[in-house]
Symmetry: C2
Subunit: 265 residues, 2 copies
Protein backbone atom coordinates (compact mmCIF):
# COMPACT_ATOMS: atom_id res chain seq x y z
CA UNK A 1 0.00 0.00 0.00
CA UNK A 2 2.85 2.34 0.85
CA UNK A 3 4.56 1.49 -2.43
CA UNK A 4 1.37 2.48 -4.29
CA UNK A 5 1.06 5.85 -2.55
CA UNK A 6 4.70 6.97 -2.09
CA UNK A 7 6.54 8.58 -3.74
CA UNK A 8 3.53 10.47 -4.99
CA UNK A 9 2.74 11.71 -8.46
CA UNK A 10 1.52 15.23 -9.09
CA UNK A 11 -1.25 14.96 -6.45
CA UNK A 12 -3.50 17.05 -8.74
CA UNK A 13 -6.80 15.72 -7.41
CA UNK A 14 -6.19 16.35 -3.70
CA UNK A 15 -4.70 19.78 -4.51
CA UNK A 16 -7.84 20.57 -6.46
CA UNK A 17 -10.08 19.38 -3.63
CA UNK A 18 -8.20 21.49 -1.06
CA UNK A 19 -8.03 24.44 -3.45
CA UNK A 20 -11.80 24.46 -3.90
CA UNK A 21 -12.41 23.97 -0.16
CA UNK A 22 -10.19 26.98 0.57
CA UNK A 23 -11.84 29.03 -2.16
CA UNK A 24 -15.22 28.24 -0.53
CA UNK A 25 -14.11 29.42 2.92
CA UNK A 26 -12.55 26.24 4.34
CA UNK A 27 -15.40 25.62 6.80
CA UNK A 28 -14.19 22.12 7.80
CA UNK A 29 -10.46 21.88 7.07
CA UNK A 30 -9.97 18.41 8.59
CA UNK A 31 -12.86 17.04 6.55
CA UNK A 32 -11.48 18.66 3.40
CA UNK A 33 -8.10 17.08 4.11
CA UNK A 34 -9.71 13.67 4.63
CA UNK A 35 -11.68 14.01 1.39
CA UNK A 36 -8.49 14.95 -0.46
CA UNK A 37 -6.69 11.96 1.03
CA UNK A 38 -9.59 9.67 0.23
CA UNK A 39 -9.58 10.78 -3.41
CA UNK A 40 -5.82 10.41 -3.78
CA UNK A 41 -5.88 6.91 -2.23
CA UNK A 42 -8.53 5.89 -4.75
CA UNK A 43 -6.47 7.37 -7.57
CA UNK A 44 -3.39 5.46 -6.36
CA UNK A 45 -5.42 2.24 -6.20
CA UNK A 46 -6.59 2.79 -9.77
CA UNK A 47 -2.98 3.07 -10.92
CA UNK A 48 -2.08 -0.23 -9.25
CA UNK A 49 -4.80 -1.94 -11.28
CA UNK A 50 -3.94 -0.01 -14.47
CA UNK A 51 -0.42 -1.42 -14.40
CA UNK A 52 -1.42 -5.07 -13.87
CA UNK A 53 -0.51 -7.63 -16.53
CA UNK A 54 -4.14 -8.01 -17.63
CA UNK A 55 -4.49 -4.25 -18.17
CA UNK A 56 -1.49 -2.15 -19.32
CA UNK A 57 1.14 -4.66 -18.16
CA UNK A 58 3.32 -1.66 -17.26
CA UNK A 59 6.48 -2.44 -15.27
CA UNK A 60 7.24 1.18 -14.28
CA UNK A 61 5.19 3.80 -12.45
CA UNK A 62 6.44 7.15 -11.18
CA UNK A 63 9.96 6.05 -12.06
CA UNK A 64 9.83 2.97 -9.81
CA UNK A 65 8.78 -0.64 -10.24
CA UNK A 66 5.01 -1.00 -10.47
CA UNK A 67 3.48 -2.57 -7.35
CA UNK A 68 2.89 -5.97 -9.00
CA UNK A 69 6.49 -6.04 -10.23
CA UNK A 70 7.88 -5.27 -6.77
CA UNK A 71 5.46 -7.37 -4.69
CA UNK A 72 3.70 -9.80 -7.04
CA UNK A 73 0.28 -9.65 -8.63
CA UNK A 74 -1.54 -11.06 -5.58
CA UNK A 75 -0.28 -8.41 -3.17
CA UNK A 76 -0.81 -5.69 -5.78
CA UNK A 77 -4.49 -6.60 -6.14
CA UNK A 78 -4.91 -6.81 -2.36
CA UNK A 79 -3.10 -3.52 -1.83
CA UNK A 80 -5.48 -1.91 -4.34
CA UNK A 81 -8.49 -3.39 -2.53
CA UNK A 82 -7.19 -2.25 0.84
CA UNK A 83 -6.52 1.26 -0.47
CA UNK A 84 -10.15 1.55 -1.59
CA UNK A 85 -11.30 0.44 1.85
CA UNK A 86 -8.81 2.76 3.59
CA UNK A 87 -10.09 5.62 1.48
CA UNK A 88 -13.63 5.32 2.84
CA UNK A 89 -12.38 4.40 6.30
CA UNK A 90 -10.22 7.50 6.66
CA UNK A 91 -13.07 9.68 5.43
CA UNK A 92 -15.37 8.09 8.03
CA UNK A 93 -12.80 8.71 10.76
CA UNK A 94 -12.34 12.39 9.93
CA UNK A 95 -16.04 12.84 9.27
CA UNK A 96 -17.07 11.58 12.71
CA UNK A 97 -17.05 15.17 14.01
CA UNK A 98 -19.26 16.35 11.11
CA UNK A 99 -21.36 13.27 10.29
CA UNK A 100 -23.95 15.33 8.41
CA UNK A 101 -21.33 15.86 5.69
CA UNK A 102 -20.55 12.16 5.29
CA UNK A 103 -23.46 10.98 3.11
CA UNK A 104 -22.81 13.66 0.49
CA UNK A 105 -19.04 13.23 0.55
CA UNK A 106 -19.17 9.45 0.38
CA UNK A 107 -21.64 9.45 -2.46
CA UNK A 108 -19.82 12.03 -4.54
CA UNK A 109 -16.51 10.23 -4.10
CA UNK A 110 -18.05 6.80 -4.80
CA UNK A 111 -19.57 8.20 -7.99
CA UNK A 112 -16.09 9.17 -9.18
CA UNK A 113 -14.63 5.70 -8.91
CA UNK A 114 -17.41 3.13 -9.10
CA UNK A 115 -19.82 1.87 -11.69
CA UNK A 116 -21.63 3.05 -13.82
CA UNK A 117 -19.89 6.39 -14.32
CA UNK A 118 -16.58 6.35 -12.47
CA UNK A 119 -13.10 4.93 -12.99
CA UNK A 120 -14.26 1.30 -12.92
CA UNK A 121 -16.66 1.99 -15.78
CA UNK A 122 -14.03 3.93 -17.75
CA UNK A 123 -11.45 1.20 -17.28
CA UNK A 124 -14.00 -1.45 -18.25
CA UNK A 125 -14.57 0.38 -21.53
CA UNK A 126 -10.92 -0.18 -22.35
CA UNK A 127 -11.58 -3.93 -22.26
CA UNK A 128 -15.03 -3.69 -23.85
CA UNK A 129 -16.75 -1.78 -26.65
CA UNK A 130 -15.16 1.69 -26.69
CA UNK A 131 -17.89 4.34 -26.51
CA UNK A 132 -17.64 7.89 -27.80
CA UNK A 133 -14.33 9.34 -26.59
CA UNK A 134 -15.86 12.01 -24.34
CA UNK A 135 -18.01 9.50 -22.42
CA UNK A 136 -15.00 7.28 -21.87
CA UNK A 137 -12.81 10.19 -20.69
CA UNK A 138 -15.53 11.43 -18.34
CA UNK A 139 -15.66 8.08 -16.57
CA UNK A 140 -11.97 7.20 -16.67
CA UNK A 141 -10.64 10.59 -15.56
CA UNK A 142 -13.28 13.32 -15.38
CA UNK A 143 -15.42 11.65 -12.73
CA UNK A 144 -12.74 11.72 -10.02
CA UNK A 145 -11.83 15.34 -10.85
CA UNK A 146 -15.52 16.13 -10.49
CA UNK A 147 -15.52 14.30 -7.14
CA UNK A 148 -12.49 16.30 -6.02
CA UNK A 149 -14.17 19.61 -6.80
CA UNK A 150 -17.59 18.76 -5.37
CA UNK A 151 -16.08 17.18 -2.24
CA UNK A 152 -13.95 20.31 -1.78
CA UNK A 153 -17.06 22.48 -2.10
CA UNK A 154 -18.99 20.36 0.44
CA UNK A 155 -16.13 20.32 2.96
CA UNK A 156 -15.37 23.99 2.40
CA UNK A 157 -18.95 25.05 3.09
CA UNK A 158 -19.75 26.07 -0.49
CA UNK A 159 -22.75 25.19 -2.64
CA UNK A 160 -21.80 22.01 -4.51
CA UNK A 161 -24.33 22.76 -7.27
CA UNK A 162 -22.39 25.88 -8.29
CA UNK A 163 -19.30 23.76 -8.85
CA UNK A 164 -21.00 21.06 -10.84
CA UNK A 165 -19.53 20.03 -14.20
CA UNK A 166 -16.19 21.80 -13.90
CA UNK A 167 -14.35 18.65 -12.84
CA UNK A 168 -15.49 16.76 -15.93
CA UNK A 169 -14.03 19.45 -18.17
CA UNK A 170 -10.80 19.59 -16.18
CA UNK A 171 -10.58 15.82 -16.22
CA UNK A 172 -11.06 15.77 -19.96
CA UNK A 173 -8.27 18.32 -20.33
CA UNK A 174 -6.08 16.17 -18.10
CA UNK A 175 -6.85 13.04 -20.09
CA UNK A 176 -6.00 14.79 -23.35
CA UNK A 177 -2.69 15.91 -21.83
CA UNK A 178 -2.12 12.31 -20.76
CA UNK A 179 -2.82 11.09 -24.30
CA UNK A 180 -0.42 13.73 -25.66
CA UNK A 181 2.30 12.66 -23.26
CA UNK A 182 1.66 9.02 -24.09
CA UNK A 183 2.07 9.81 -27.80
CA UNK A 184 4.87 12.37 -27.67
CA UNK A 185 6.41 12.28 -24.19
CA UNK A 186 9.55 10.50 -23.09
CA UNK A 187 9.35 7.55 -20.70
CA UNK A 188 12.39 8.61 -18.69
CA UNK A 189 10.84 12.01 -17.96
CA UNK A 190 7.35 10.68 -17.25
CA UNK A 191 8.49 7.75 -15.12
CA UNK A 192 6.18 5.36 -16.99
CA UNK A 193 6.09 3.68 -20.40
CA UNK A 194 4.83 5.72 -23.38
CA UNK A 195 3.03 4.64 -26.54
CA UNK A 196 0.57 2.51 -24.54
CA UNK A 197 -2.58 3.83 -26.25
CA UNK A 198 -1.33 2.69 -29.64
CA UNK A 199 -0.09 -0.65 -28.24
CA UNK A 200 -3.47 -1.36 -26.64
CA UNK A 201 -5.48 0.25 -29.48
CA UNK A 202 -7.21 2.46 -26.93
CA UNK A 203 -9.28 5.52 -27.75
CA UNK A 204 -6.96 8.54 -27.68
CA UNK A 205 -7.50 12.24 -28.24
CA UNK A 206 -4.27 12.32 -30.28
CA UNK A 207 -5.57 9.62 -32.58
CA UNK A 208 -8.92 11.40 -32.91
CA UNK A 209 -7.88 15.07 -33.12
CA UNK A 210 -4.20 15.03 -34.10
CA UNK A 211 -1.53 16.74 -31.99
CA UNK A 212 -2.52 20.33 -32.70
CA UNK A 213 -6.21 19.60 -32.37
CA UNK A 214 -5.65 17.89 -29.04
CA UNK A 215 -3.56 20.78 -27.66
CA UNK A 216 -6.22 23.25 -28.80
CA UNK A 217 -9.03 21.22 -27.23
CA UNK A 218 -7.15 21.00 -23.96
CA UNK A 219 -6.55 24.74 -23.91
CA UNK A 220 -10.23 25.46 -24.72
CA UNK A 221 -11.37 23.21 -21.87
CA UNK A 222 -9.11 24.95 -19.34
CA UNK A 223 -10.32 28.38 -20.50
CA UNK A 224 -13.91 27.21 -20.16
CA UNK A 225 -13.29 26.02 -16.60
CA UNK A 226 -11.59 29.28 -15.62
CA UNK A 227 -14.44 31.28 -17.13
CA UNK A 228 -17.03 29.33 -15.16
CA UNK A 229 -15.45 29.33 -11.70
CA UNK A 230 -18.07 30.56 -9.22
CA UNK A 231 -17.48 33.89 -7.52
CA UNK A 232 -15.71 33.19 -4.22
CA UNK A 233 -12.97 34.68 -2.06
CA UNK A 234 -10.27 32.32 -3.23
CA UNK A 235 -11.07 32.56 -6.95
CA UNK A 236 -7.71 34.08 -7.97
CA UNK A 237 -5.68 31.44 -6.15
CA UNK A 238 -7.71 28.71 -7.79
CA UNK A 239 -7.19 30.26 -11.23
CA UNK A 240 -3.44 30.30 -10.59
CA UNK A 241 -3.54 26.65 -9.45
CA UNK A 242 -5.39 25.50 -12.58
CA UNK A 243 -3.24 27.64 -14.94
CA UNK A 244 -0.12 26.22 -13.35
CA UNK A 245 -1.22 22.66 -13.99
CA UNK A 246 -2.32 23.11 -17.56
CA UNK A 247 1.19 24.44 -18.32
CA UNK A 248 2.86 21.63 -16.37
CA UNK A 249 0.74 18.97 -18.03
CA UNK A 250 1.56 19.62 -21.67
CA UNK A 251 4.68 17.87 -22.96
CA UNK A 252 7.50 20.40 -23.29
CA UNK A 253 7.41 21.88 -26.83
CA UNK A 254 11.07 21.03 -27.57
CA UNK A 255 10.62 17.50 -26.29
CA UNK A 256 7.48 17.05 -28.36
CA UNK A 257 9.20 18.28 -31.52
CA UNK A 258 12.23 16.05 -30.96
CA UNK A 259 10.08 12.96 -30.39
CA UNK A 260 7.91 13.73 -33.39
CA UNK A 261 11.07 14.14 -35.51
CA UNK A 262 12.63 10.92 -34.34
CA UNK A 263 9.34 9.15 -34.96
CA UNK A 264 9.26 10.29 -38.57
CA UNK A 265 12.98 9.93 -39.27
Amino acid sequence: MRHAVFPGGARFRPELCLGVAEACGDAHPLVAEAAAVSIELLHCASLVYDDLPCFDDAPIRRGHAAVHVAHGEELAILAGNALIVLSFDSLARAGAAQPQLLPGLLRVIARGVGSPSGICAGQAWESDTPPELGVYHRAKTGALFESAIIAGAIAGGGDPMQWSGLGYRLGEAYQIADDLRDAYGRAELLGKPVGQDAVHARPSAVHELGMNGAVQRMSDLCDEVLGRLPACDGRQDLIALIRGWSQKLLPHPRQTAATAMSATS
Copy 2:
Protein backbone atom coordinates in the same frame (compact mmCIF):
# COMPACT_ATOMS: atom_id res chain seq x y z
CA MET B 1 -21.19 -7.25 -10.73
CA ARG B 2 -24.52 -9.02 -11.01
CA HIS B 3 -22.75 -12.28 -11.82
CA ALA B 4 -20.71 -11.91 -8.61
CA VAL B 5 -23.76 -11.32 -6.40
CA PHE B 6 -26.44 -13.56 -7.98
CA PRO B 7 -27.29 -16.34 -7.50
CA GLY B 8 -26.29 -15.87 -3.91
CA GLY B 9 -24.53 -18.24 -1.58
CA ALA B 10 -25.75 -18.87 1.94
CA ARG B 11 -25.89 -15.13 2.77
CA PHE B 12 -24.72 -15.94 6.31
CA ARG B 13 -23.17 -12.56 7.04
CA PRO B 14 -26.18 -10.38 6.12
CA GLU B 15 -28.52 -12.79 7.94
CA LEU B 16 -26.31 -12.48 10.99
CA CYS B 17 -26.29 -8.68 10.75
CA LEU B 18 -30.07 -8.53 10.44
CA GLY B 19 -30.52 -11.16 13.15
CA VAL B 20 -28.47 -9.13 15.63
CA ALA B 21 -30.22 -5.88 14.65
CA GLU B 22 -33.59 -7.51 15.28
CA ALA B 23 -32.39 -9.03 18.54
CA CYS B 24 -31.34 -5.52 19.64
CA GLY B 25 -34.75 -3.99 18.88
CA ASP B 26 -34.38 -3.06 15.19
CA ALA B 27 -34.19 0.68 15.84
CA HIS B 28 -33.19 1.58 12.25
CA PRO B 29 -34.32 -1.23 9.95
CA LEU B 30 -33.33 0.49 6.68
CA VAL B 31 -29.86 1.15 8.03
CA ALA B 32 -29.56 -2.46 9.20
CA GLU B 33 -30.59 -3.62 5.75
CA ALA B 34 -28.03 -1.35 4.10
CA ALA B 35 -25.31 -2.57 6.46
CA ALA B 36 -26.24 -6.19 5.66
CA VAL B 37 -26.14 -5.44 1.93
CA SER B 38 -22.85 -3.61 2.28
CA ILE B 39 -21.28 -6.58 4.06
CA GLU B 40 -22.60 -9.11 1.55
CA LEU B 41 -21.34 -7.02 -1.39
CA LEU B 42 -17.89 -6.95 0.18
CA HIS B 43 -18.02 -10.70 0.73
CA CYS B 44 -19.03 -11.24 -2.91
CA ALA B 45 -16.17 -9.00 -4.04
CA SER B 46 -13.73 -11.04 -1.97
CA LEU B 47 -14.90 -14.23 -3.70
CA VAL B 48 -14.30 -12.69 -7.13
CA TYR B 49 -10.68 -12.04 -6.15
CA ASP B 50 -10.31 -15.42 -4.41
CA ASP B 51 -11.12 -17.20 -7.65
CA LEU B 52 -8.70 -15.23 -9.85
CA PRO B 53 -5.87 -17.09 -11.60
CA CYS B 54 -3.24 -15.52 -9.32
CA PHE B 55 -5.10 -16.69 -6.18
CA ASP B 56 -7.09 -19.95 -6.22
CA ASP B 57 -7.49 -20.11 -10.00
CA ALA B 58 -10.95 -21.59 -9.41
CA PRO B 59 -13.20 -21.90 -12.48
CA ILE B 60 -16.43 -22.59 -10.55
CA ARG B 61 -18.25 -20.63 -7.84
CA ARG B 62 -21.71 -21.35 -6.50
CA GLY B 63 -22.13 -23.91 -9.27
CA HIS B 64 -21.55 -21.38 -12.04
CA ALA B 65 -18.55 -20.10 -13.93
CA ALA B 66 -16.40 -17.82 -11.78
CA VAL B 67 -16.62 -14.15 -12.82
CA HIS B 68 -13.19 -14.11 -14.51
CA VAL B 69 -14.08 -17.25 -16.48
CA ALA B 70 -17.37 -15.77 -17.70
CA HIS B 71 -16.22 -12.18 -18.29
CA GLY B 72 -12.41 -12.17 -18.36
CA GLU B 73 -9.91 -11.25 -15.70
CA GLU B 74 -10.06 -7.49 -16.40
CA LEU B 75 -13.81 -7.20 -15.89
CA ALA B 76 -13.64 -9.51 -12.86
CA ILE B 77 -11.12 -7.23 -11.14
CA LEU B 78 -13.13 -4.13 -12.05
CA ALA B 79 -16.38 -5.73 -10.89
CA GLY B 80 -14.70 -6.51 -7.55
CA ASN B 81 -13.48 -2.92 -7.25
CA ALA B 82 -16.90 -1.55 -8.14
CA LEU B 83 -18.60 -3.83 -5.62
CA ILE B 84 -16.38 -2.47 -2.84
CA VAL B 85 -17.29 1.07 -3.87
CA LEU B 86 -20.98 0.19 -4.19
CA SER B 87 -20.88 -1.32 -0.72
CA PHE B 88 -19.86 1.97 0.90
CA ASP B 89 -22.03 3.98 -1.49
CA SER B 90 -25.21 2.08 -0.64
CA LEU B 91 -24.47 2.39 3.06
CA ALA B 92 -24.01 6.14 2.62
CA ARG B 93 -27.31 6.38 0.75
CA ALA B 94 -29.31 4.53 3.38
CA GLY B 95 -27.43 6.25 6.20
CA ALA B 96 -28.30 9.75 4.98
CA ALA B 97 -31.36 9.75 7.26
CA GLN B 98 -29.26 8.70 10.28
CA PRO B 99 -25.86 10.22 9.55
CA GLN B 100 -24.75 9.92 13.17
CA LEU B 101 -24.61 6.14 12.66
CA LEU B 102 -22.41 6.33 9.58
CA PRO B 103 -18.96 6.86 11.09
CA GLY B 104 -19.30 3.82 13.36
CA LEU B 105 -20.84 1.61 10.69
CA LEU B 106 -18.31 2.56 8.04
CA ARG B 107 -15.39 2.03 10.35
CA VAL B 108 -16.55 -1.32 11.66
CA ILE B 109 -17.25 -2.60 8.16
CA ALA B 110 -13.96 -1.26 6.78
CA ARG B 111 -12.12 -3.03 9.60
CA GLY B 112 -13.63 -6.33 8.48
CA VAL B 113 -12.30 -6.13 4.94
CA GLY B 114 -9.28 -3.86 4.84
CA SER B 115 -5.75 -3.93 6.11
CA PRO B 116 -4.28 -4.67 8.67
CA SER B 117 -6.90 -7.00 10.18
CA GLY B 118 -9.60 -7.70 7.59
CA ILE B 119 -10.00 -9.90 4.52
CA CYS B 120 -7.23 -8.16 2.55
CA ALA B 121 -4.75 -8.96 5.33
CA GLY B 122 -5.98 -12.55 5.64
CA GLN B 123 -5.77 -13.10 1.91
CA ALA B 124 -2.31 -11.53 1.80
CA TRP B 125 -1.13 -14.05 4.39
CA GLU B 126 -1.98 -16.80 1.92
CA SER B 127 0.61 -15.32 -0.44
CA ASP B 128 3.07 -14.39 2.28
CA THR B 129 4.45 -15.84 5.52
CA PRO B 130 1.56 -17.81 7.08
CA PRO B 131 1.07 -16.69 10.67
CA GLU B 132 -0.45 -18.72 13.48
CA LEU B 133 -3.68 -20.28 12.16
CA GLY B 134 -6.04 -18.37 14.47
CA VAL B 135 -4.66 -14.97 13.46
CA TYR B 136 -5.03 -15.86 9.80
CA HIS B 137 -8.61 -17.10 10.27
CA ARG B 138 -9.57 -14.02 12.25
CA ALA B 139 -8.52 -11.76 9.40
CA LYS B 140 -9.66 -13.91 6.48
CA THR B 141 -13.09 -14.80 7.84
CA GLY B 142 -13.67 -13.74 11.43
CA ALA B 143 -13.27 -10.02 10.84
CA LEU B 144 -16.26 -9.71 8.49
CA PHE B 145 -18.43 -11.83 10.81
CA GLU B 146 -17.41 -9.47 13.60
CA SER B 147 -18.35 -6.53 11.35
CA ALA B 148 -21.73 -8.12 10.62
CA ILE B 149 -22.53 -8.52 14.32
CA ILE B 150 -21.27 -5.10 15.44
CA ALA B 151 -22.94 -3.33 12.51
CA GLY B 152 -26.18 -5.14 13.35
CA ALA B 153 -25.89 -4.00 16.96
CA ILE B 154 -25.24 -0.37 15.93
CA ALA B 155 -28.13 -0.29 13.43
CA GLY B 156 -30.44 -2.14 15.82
CA GLY B 157 -29.85 0.33 18.63
CA GLY B 158 -27.87 -2.07 20.85
CA ASP B 159 -24.58 -1.54 22.63
CA PRO B 160 -21.87 -2.68 20.20
CA MET B 161 -19.42 -3.31 23.08
CA GLN B 162 -21.65 -6.09 24.44
CA TRP B 163 -21.42 -7.91 21.11
CA SER B 164 -17.69 -7.58 20.71
CA GLY B 165 -15.64 -10.70 19.95
CA LEU B 166 -18.53 -13.04 19.08
CA GLY B 167 -18.07 -12.59 15.34
CA TYR B 168 -14.43 -13.65 15.50
CA ARG B 169 -15.40 -16.93 17.15
CA LEU B 170 -18.24 -17.52 14.72
CA GLY B 171 -15.96 -16.68 11.82
CA GLU B 172 -13.37 -19.13 13.08
CA ALA B 173 -16.05 -21.81 13.30
CA TYR B 174 -17.14 -20.98 9.76
CA GLN B 175 -13.57 -21.13 8.48
CA ILE B 176 -13.03 -24.53 10.11
CA ALA B 177 -16.23 -25.77 8.46
CA ASP B 178 -14.91 -24.40 5.17
CA ASP B 179 -11.63 -26.25 5.65
CA LEU B 180 -13.56 -29.44 6.45
CA ARG B 181 -15.67 -29.10 3.34
CA ASP B 182 -12.57 -28.36 1.27
CA ALA B 183 -10.94 -31.54 2.58
CA TYR B 184 -13.95 -33.87 2.67
CA GLY B 185 -16.77 -32.25 0.73
CA ARG B 186 -17.82 -32.95 -2.85
CA ALA B 187 -17.38 -30.27 -5.51
CA GLU B 188 -20.76 -30.97 -7.16
CA LEU B 189 -22.58 -30.38 -3.87
CA LEU B 190 -20.56 -27.33 -2.86
CA GLY B 191 -20.59 -25.70 -6.28
CA LYS B 192 -16.87 -25.01 -6.11
CA PRO B 193 -13.62 -27.00 -6.38
CA VAL B 194 -12.45 -28.94 -3.30
CA GLY B 195 -8.96 -29.85 -2.14
CA GLN B 196 -7.73 -26.29 -2.71
CA ASP B 197 -6.00 -25.93 0.68
CA ALA B 198 -3.75 -28.90 -0.05
CA VAL B 199 -3.11 -27.77 -3.65
CA HIS B 200 -2.11 -24.29 -2.48
CA ALA B 201 -0.37 -25.53 0.71
CA ARG B 202 -2.54 -23.16 2.73
CA PRO B 203 -2.95 -23.28 6.50
CA SER B 204 -5.99 -25.47 7.25
CA ALA B 205 -7.69 -26.53 10.46
CA VAL B 206 -7.98 -30.05 9.05
CA HIS B 207 -4.25 -30.20 8.48
CA GLU B 208 -3.58 -28.85 11.97
CA LEU B 209 -6.23 -30.61 14.08
CA GLY B 210 -7.32 -33.62 12.03
CA MET B 211 -10.96 -34.20 11.06
CA ASN B 212 -12.30 -35.04 14.50
CA GLY B 213 -10.29 -32.31 16.18
CA ALA B 214 -11.57 -29.75 13.67
CA VAL B 215 -15.22 -30.80 14.13
CA GLN B 216 -14.79 -30.62 17.93
CA ARG B 217 -13.18 -27.18 17.76
CA MET B 218 -15.98 -25.89 15.54
CA SER B 219 -18.63 -27.21 17.91
CA ASP B 220 -16.84 -25.68 20.95
CA LEU B 221 -16.69 -22.29 19.24
CA CYS B 222 -20.42 -22.32 18.44
CA ASP B 223 -21.27 -23.28 22.01
CA GLU B 224 -19.06 -20.49 23.30
CA VAL B 225 -20.83 -17.95 21.09
CA LEU B 226 -24.27 -19.15 22.16
CA GLY B 227 -23.25 -18.99 25.82
CA ARG B 228 -22.02 -15.42 25.48
CA LEU B 229 -24.93 -13.87 23.56
CA PRO B 230 -26.01 -10.73 25.44
CA ALA B 231 -29.44 -10.72 27.07
CA CYS B 232 -31.89 -9.22 24.57
CA ASP B 233 -35.46 -9.74 23.37
CA GLY B 234 -34.51 -11.67 20.24
CA ARG B 235 -31.97 -13.96 21.93
CA GLN B 236 -33.88 -17.21 21.22
CA ASP B 237 -34.30 -16.45 17.52
CA LEU B 238 -30.63 -15.66 17.24
CA ILE B 239 -29.69 -18.92 18.96
CA ALA B 240 -31.88 -20.80 16.49
CA LEU B 241 -30.26 -18.97 13.58
CA ILE B 242 -26.73 -19.80 14.72
CA ARG B 243 -27.60 -23.43 15.60
CA GLY B 244 -29.18 -23.86 12.16
CA TRP B 245 -26.02 -22.71 10.43
CA SER B 246 -23.58 -24.77 12.38
CA GLN B 247 -25.56 -27.86 11.37
CA LYS B 248 -25.80 -26.74 7.75
CA LEU B 249 -22.11 -25.93 7.56
CA LEU B 250 -20.64 -29.28 8.47
CA PRO B 251 -20.20 -31.70 5.57
CA HIS B 252 -22.89 -34.39 5.72
CA PRO B 253 -21.55 -37.37 7.74
CA ARG B 254 -22.30 -39.90 5.00
CA GLN B 255 -20.71 -37.68 2.37
CA THR B 256 -17.65 -37.16 4.54
CA ALA B 257 -17.26 -40.88 5.13
CA ALA B 258 -17.64 -41.71 1.43
CA THR B 259 -15.06 -39.11 0.40
CA ALA B 260 -12.66 -40.20 3.11
CA MET B 261 -13.03 -43.83 1.97
CA SER B 262 -12.49 -43.04 -1.67
CA ALA B 263 -9.46 -40.95 -0.70
CA THR B 264 -7.87 -43.89 1.11
CA SER B 265 -8.91 -46.60 -1.35
